[in-house]
């Protein structure tokens, strides 16, 4: 079994997903989508319960309620008391669980929100309603083949890509075909602030083109990191 950054990728066992959503309807749907995709699912109705399940709650009680290792967390963004973003932060802040990929779901396609989540370390952002193809895609995050696919093709955000299509006339393949050495970092950007860093998120620029989007730049640097890592492994 191959190792990547300290996380072992299991191919023979079923993956275990922790699903977090305050809506009962959505919990039922995501549960079913995951089960049909051969995943073990634990569905909880709040961020607080999710932390309890992981053993990360305030009682500092490391005795988690689960016996199964969690391979992926998929959470709704808008929840009362603790949002999916706050849950994401708590997971990424913990040394024990920060390696677990976290996927955010939201019914609203807000670029600033997506940026914020990706910057905080979310693996992906799915716009609801969630479909089988979304689940298949995130399942790839837990397998080695998926990792290679991702670094080859670039990260595929369904609705994000669609919204870029709407904003500019560039073909969808722009995410996969542009070379690493493209001038994405020295962007002649349409955003008002002249900031050169690739991680800064622009709060809803008027008409962003795909290459200038902070998400795009962030993912390009991730892609570069993954490819460099792979070269070292060979």
């Amino acid at each position: 079994m191959a190792s990547n950054g300290g996380v072992t990728w299991r191919r023979t066992e079923e993956v275990h997903v922790l699903a977090v959503d305050d809506s009962l309807v959505d919990r039922k749907v995501i549960e079913r989508l995951l089960r049909i995709s051969s995943c073990k699912v634990t569905a909880v109705d709040s961020g607080i319960r999710a932390l309890q399940f992981l053993g990360l709650d305030e009682e500092k009680n490391s005795n988690a309620l689960n016996d199964l290792k969690v391979d992926l967390i998929i959470t709704d963004y808008c929840m009362p008391e603790m949002t999916g973003y706050e849950l994401l932060k708590k997971v990424k802040e913990s040394s024990a669980f920060r390696e677990i990929p976290v996927v955010i779901m939201s019914s609203e396609n807000v670029l600033a929100r997506i940026d914020r989540c990706l910057e905080e370390g979310a693996e992906d952002f799915i716009v609801k309603p969630v479909k089988l193809s979304d689940v298949k895609r995130i399942k790839d995050y837990m397998t080695r083949e998926g990792e290679t696919e991702r670094s080859r093709k670039g990260i595929n955000k369904r609705k994000l890509r669609d919204s870029f299509d709407d904003l500019s006339s560039s073909p969808p393949s722009i995410l996969s075909s542009s070379p690493i050495s493209s001038s994405s970092s020295s962007s002649s950007s349409s955003s008002p602030s002249p900031s050169p860093t690739s991680v800064q998120s622009a709060s809803a620029p008027s008409s962003p083109s795909p290459l200038d989007s902070p998400t795009r730049r962030l993912k390009m640097t991730n892609k570069l990191r993954i490819e460099q890592k792979e070269k070292k492994l060979i």
């Binding site: 039922k28 808008c78 019914s107």
Partner: protein, 178 residues
């Protein structure tokens, strides 16, 4: 489109009716045609969208009633939300649109998850009226929402009935499969 709202499908005969298989085949065929016609109608009218089809694909032998279970949870929640919205709007000391916004978002979310396109759009209209601080507009939007909801509920219950009868018909026709 004149799809037969008033025609009720007759009770599916049990295996021991003595009916020849070809006749029971007719029943099964008619049920399938009924279901397809109803679905086509709901899609053409923009009442349902492809998310509903996605849910249908999630049914199997282990969970044949998955869709009706989820939809019934949605209906149960919807009725509570609609009641809350109405009582908030009718309240003499109208407290503002914030609480309504929360209910609306919930309603919108779960409608979209089951593919209830028209309901979701009606929620958008309601939200627009509340953003304009128009109480009259909200009342109109709520009435439309209640109407669309009732219509959808009736149609989906009809669909689920047909689907159940198809399952029974298949069982009666091929008793070995039970």
């Amino acid at each position: 489109m004149n799809f037969a709202k008033n025609r009720t499908v007759s009770t599916v005969p049990a295996a021991k009716t003595g009916l020849p298989v070809w006749m029971m085949g007719l029943v099964a065929d008619r049920l399938r045609a009924d279901a397809n016609r109803l679905l086509a109608f709901l899609f053409n009218q923009g009442i349902l969208d492809e998310q509903f089809l996605q849910l249908q694909q999630l049914r199997d032998e282990s969970s044949p009633n998955f869709v009706s279970e989820v939809v019934n949870i949605h209906f149960h929640e919807s009725e509570k939300l609609l009641r809350n919205l109405r009582s908030l709007l009718m309240d003499r000391e109208f407290s503002g649109y914030n609480k309504m916004g929360i209910h609306l978002n919930q309603f919108m979310g779960s409608s979209s998850s089951i593919g209830a396109k028209r309901i979701r759009n009606a929620c958008f209209a309601f939200r627009a009226a509340s953003e304009q601080n128009s109480r009259a507009g909200c009342l109109r939007a709520l009435e439309l929402l209640e109407h669309d909801y009732c219509f959808l509920k009736n149609k989906l219950h009809e669909l689920f009935q047909i689907q159940q009868q198809r399952v029974l018909a298949a069982g009666a026709r091929y008793p070995m499969q039970n």
